[in-house]
């Protein structure tokens, strides 16, 4: 699935919070009906990561959040993603020291973001620094690796500038972007 980002083709906001942490818009589906979508930008839950925000979107769940486990058939996926990223761009312009993170724990979502970064490299490079995060395990000189008290490997996150030569199947664990 290919996504083409174009900030000249976005859906207008229905509801916009002045801190830009929340926005809703309507997206047509392939069956012709309109689907309300909610974008949320929330401070990362780990207080040790200041200035990192999570970005997510999906149909509102009626409780102030969005459903991120629903696969919708959008009429124009390009326009949906362009709307979400444009909102992220404006948020970062208001908060230039902040970083937006997207959890890649869901393979389908991670694949979509990975391909979106790759196929829009030139366009997005005007606006964002793209970052991919891998987990790594420290291996000692004796061949053993760093473990916790239960003997499980200790994984640590390592960010790098998004590697556009990386295979589409070689997904990062976490995706981030910062204002350029």
């Amino acid at each position: 699935m290919q996504v083409t980002i174009n900030f000249d083709q976005i859906y207008p906001p229905l509801k916009l919070v002045d801190t830009l942490t929340e926005m809703t818009f309507e997206s047509p589906k392939v069956d012709g009906s309109l689907q309300e979508m909610l974008i949320k930008i929330t401070l990362h839950p780990d207080p040790l990561l200041p200035g990192v925000f999570n970005l997510g979107f999906g149909p509102p769940d009626g409780k102030g959040n969005f459903k991120d486990d629903i696969r919708l058939k959008y009429e124009d996926l390009d326009k949906v993603f362009s709307t979400v990223l444009f909102h992220g761009l404006v948020f970062l312009q208001q908060n230039p020291e902040s970083t937006i993170g997207i959890d890649g724990s869901d393979d389908l979502r991670a694949r979509l973001y990975h391909r979106m970064y790759k196929s829009n490299r030139v366009y997005l490079a005007d606006y964002f620094a793209a970052i991919g995060v891998d987990w790594y395990v420290r291996i000692f000189r004796n061949g053993d690796y760093e473990k916790d008290e239960l003997g499980n490997a200790i994984a640590k996150p390592r960010p790098e500038s998004f590697d556009y030569k990386r295979n589409n199947k070689d997904l990062y664990r976490y995706y981030m972007f910062r204002l350029k």
Partner: protein, 60 residues
Amino acid sequence: MNQQMQNKIEQYKKLATVQGSRVASKGKVINNDSLSQVIRSKKDADDFMAELEAVVKRAK
């Protein structure tokens, strides 16, 4: 970034200021994501943030 896009961004910001609600909806707080699961200590977090800043600086 071209001037036309910058104007579009400024219009959007103005819309948020003029018409934007001041209250975000209340939703459940997500306690962790995959990144928080691999940040085990303040040192892990400090190391990660320092590496992140270095990557961003190089990308600019």
